[in-house]
Symmetry: D3
Subunit: 237 residues, 6 copies
């Protein structure tokens, strides 16, 4: 009944390849089905100005989509001179989600910038960006630990994200583009490796939803995130 033939609670194939950009302090190419996102981490020695003197670090994110990552070409934001509302919203979400998993005192007064660029899009790009972004962040943190720039691990747990939705009246896990564009309710769940909630976003797109729907979608998400965390572990091993 799903366009892809997947079961209701079946995720797409996930692969995470690390070390794909030689210059970055951490990098990976995450593929969740046909959604491909290149994630890099850049360590900056200075924190943002508002943190000077606090002993705390910062993690921020930027998100972009190559013009032809999509079915029809999207205008290049660098050329239009403006990031679209959707882009701004997504990169704020990625930064907020990753920061929620960071021990900012352990990181010290520095900033890590996570760049997530979608090479090919097929639904769920923000979730893939968070899951892959965490891997890039993990690799950058490892480098700080290896070079003894920091001495305690600033990343106590994994962060990963998955979308769920109500498609054709059914709650389904990990929406692809065909499902996403037809879903009545769309949601993104960001969880830690231990299953704590970091962020929940649920939106009625065609129809409002009930409290039980919310809980059913979360059931799916909890299972999906476990698989993503396993893929993260395999990638950084």
């Amino acid at each position: 009944m799903r366009p892809s033939g997947r079961k209701l609670d079946e995720m797409r194939t996930v692969s995470i390849e690390t070390g794909v950009v030689k210059h970055a302090e951490g990098s990976c190419l995450i593929k969740v089905g046909d959604t491909h996102v290149l994630c890099t981490a850049t360590i900056e020695d200075r924190p943002p100005p508002f943190l000077k003197g606090t002993g705390l670090g910062w993690v921020t994110a930027e998100y972009g989509m190559l013009p032809r990552a999509t079915g029809s070409r999207t205008r290049r934001e660098a050329a239009t001179g403006k990031q679209q509302g959707r882009t701004v919203e997504i990169q704020r979400l990625i930064g907020r989600a990753l920061r929620a998993g960071v021990d900012r005192a352990a990181l010290g007064e520095r900033q890590i910038v996570i760049d997530c660029d979608v090479l090919q899009a097929d639904g769920g790009t923000r979730c893939a960006a968070i899951t892959g972004g965490w891997v890039a962040l993990r690799l950058a943190a490892n480098r700080l630990l290896q070079t003894r720039a920091i001495t305690s691990d600033p990343l106590p747990d994994h962060i990963a994200a998955v979308s769920c939705g109500i498609y054709a009246g059914q709650t389904v896990l990990d929406l692809d583009y065909a499902e996403d564009s037809a879903a009545g309710t769309d949601s993104n769940f960001i969880l830690t490796g231990r299953g704590r909630l970091v962020e929940v976003q649920m939106s009625a797109e065609g129809a409002t939803f009930a409290r039980e729907d919310m809980n059913r979608l979360l059931d799916l998400a909890e299972a999906g995130v476990q698989q993503l965390v396993a893929a993260q572990k395999a990638a950084i091993a």
Copy 2:
């Protein structure tokens, strides 16, 4: 224990004054405690281009904050030449939330623009904007019905929004600025008058949260929205 002395499940005083801008097709000034938002509705005869010929209408929203609505002056976005990420995120939310309550076929090929401008901010401006924005929208829809521009009501139910959060370890309803800036988890719930969910946004700001927290916060929100809907009904009576 709350800075304002309110009980954990106590909302701030809500008042909604309609007809405050003589030019607008619908308008109100909503006050939720010290948060004051001016909401206007503008009826445009033409829908956005992508709806030409579909018979469907559209509702969109813009959000702004006067520079001195806040404790320290915020730079005027018109002068900086750019809406901040926060502004973009909020106005997309308002538009999405209000659209979820609109029968777009009943509205017909026209657009209603809801402008929400914060005159004074004390936490919860996006929720006040949605609750007040719905009143402005309701008044504009009434005008379309009265002038027989449309014949069936495009607004089958109320839409209202409230924030909840985990403050000092407790789940509390309707955060003011003092609470919002110290909350460990912050959430916004948008519901219909009949209690269906329109949008849920929950964010770990200082600490991740558990599934039970999510449900407890929703309990508070359901009660709060009922009070907001009552205030909406009184205002448009």
Copy 3:
């Protein structure tokens, strides 16, 4: 013969309510007929860079109009990314006019920013902004005096502004929108409480004018400003 039924030399009703925004160091809502402008004053401890080390202060102003302050909706400047020429011209005028009444040495090395936001427009918004902006400025100066941040009064006199014009061949005081859009000559006079001139702006819109017209319009303005100054005095009493 005037659309409003007013006499040629009759102003609209003026009201000035102070203390309308709790965060601002000075604020008022000025209503000149159906023109409503919210004015706030912000005290900034640092002067603009070009005044560092001079011992002199600065007063500047910004002007905005809510999208639906007008009969048909005006596009939001924050969204278009650019202040219109008219906005820039008006806010430069407000700043220049208010500065002309400030003893900048008495103010010391700080800046006061006056924000004037039009909630509802019916002609004469720049004059209302100057008249109300002076009240906000006066209240902010009072606060500096009360906290002994400064010791001598930086505002030796009132500043107020009124528009006059040639409408249907007659010189009239305080044009509303209906008159303004049909006037052959439009002028703004800014005066001090003692009747000294601060700024004169006269423009032929449909027909050029004679030297005698200039003097007749000034006669009207002198009388109008006296009433505005009286309203200012009542508001700050």
Copy 4:
């Protein structure tokens, strides 16, 4: 007593050379002392959209200053991505002033764009731009008459502008930069060839002024404009 040694009512030398840009429908280089402005007129066959179908034409103006027209280099507005407030204010003034002298029905549904670019600045650039801009406009109108694109003259009279001010306590005509930057009151008068007023702008810069000052400055301006009109006549002869 004036820095230049001029008498109080003495203008700088004025020269107007026409035909300086071969592509333009009208052009001149106006020199008022060391202030040099290149003015061109472009005839566009279509009026601005808001005039479609009205039978009326439009005249508009743009103003610019080469980066090194000034004593210290001014940043290029094309490079900063934004016209400064001063530029916007001046070009609106030029357009408004020239339009006041145009019979827009005689011009018909077309637009003439006047570009005024300051090659060298020494005070009074906006007045020189208006005076020279009118010459470029006159030449363009002549071309329309010669090619019988229009049959009645759209320019019934000359338009010219001069600045006056109160410098070192004296009312003086045609301020140069040294005077302008030290003047207590600065004014610009725009008049027709027959002495009717088109626009008056008077600003207290260091000190407020009295009604008699206003009339004394106008006396000077009336005499100055006559000399400018004579120079315009000589140029277009």
Copy 5:
């Protein structure tokens, strides 16, 4: 003597993988050593407005660099709101070069947009973009031929580009970043498969150069382009 140990006339390893973005009408990932550029072609049914009714088509290009394609992070142009001069210059070059190899009448009234995004940079990104961009263009043209949207081939010959320079006093082929940043003269040669010149760009960076240098660099380039054309042929086979 070259940092990479290559011989003076030795190119880096070139690989071109096609079909890397499923949505695009043509795509490839070109790797010239550590320089990796993703190139996609988008067919648009409408030509740019200036070609309406001419029967001619158009090819244009856009170029971007992911923020961490470089050794230190480059600011994202979408976020700064502006494409840098270097970006603009490069994408104009790519478009001009590819157009020089297109029979625009055979292409008909449509546009092909080539997007070249640098995933990893190590010198010579503009040349790799042209060489890879031509492959994407070739694949898009093939699709037009296969679907019989066009009937004669719009690409009579290959287009490929290579950089040469004077490094440490020697003329060398295909500069990598280490060489490029130290070269006295830098040049880019764009040639057709048959060896005709499309574009030559030579710049003295540290030292001017002689006419014989120009010819020696061209000798190298001719040999290098032959290898690139061979790689193109292998990729599209």
Copy 6:
């Protein structure tokens, strides 16, 4: 056979008038036929930030075109808020070319900004800007030497530029607009007074070209630049 009746190797008349802007440290108006460019040099005491502490100076350039320098009016870049790609490309070329002729250690830690503004365009504006820009730079360097701000000459040789092209199948020198817009190949050669190459730019516009064409065009350019250098010498004498 050339539209202007010139011989294949005949340049247009060149004139260079210096001292045309009284404020600038160096200035000239260069006329190459009907192409007129105003060039000014501004000496800034501080180098760009990346040169602080290196002992080296910098030369940069900005280029602009007055709106009506061209046959039909070009939109003012200051008004559109953006420099066009062509402008950016040209000003980068001018700066690069002039810097190639500067002994940056002799210049010391300061910057010279060359502004080139086209008053009237008839082809070859970038070449005229480089040739005239060098004169302005030479005059500014002279002033630094005269005031003993520097002690050794930072300009060891002349820099001048000329365009050549293949027009109607013939190689011609110094293209005017009529030729430029019809040329099959267009090229710009920048040389020193001693005939060393600084920059070569050759572009196939309608037809690719052969290696012999490249050398024939350079023959023409070498002769043309000698005439330009003679004109520079006469101007600064």
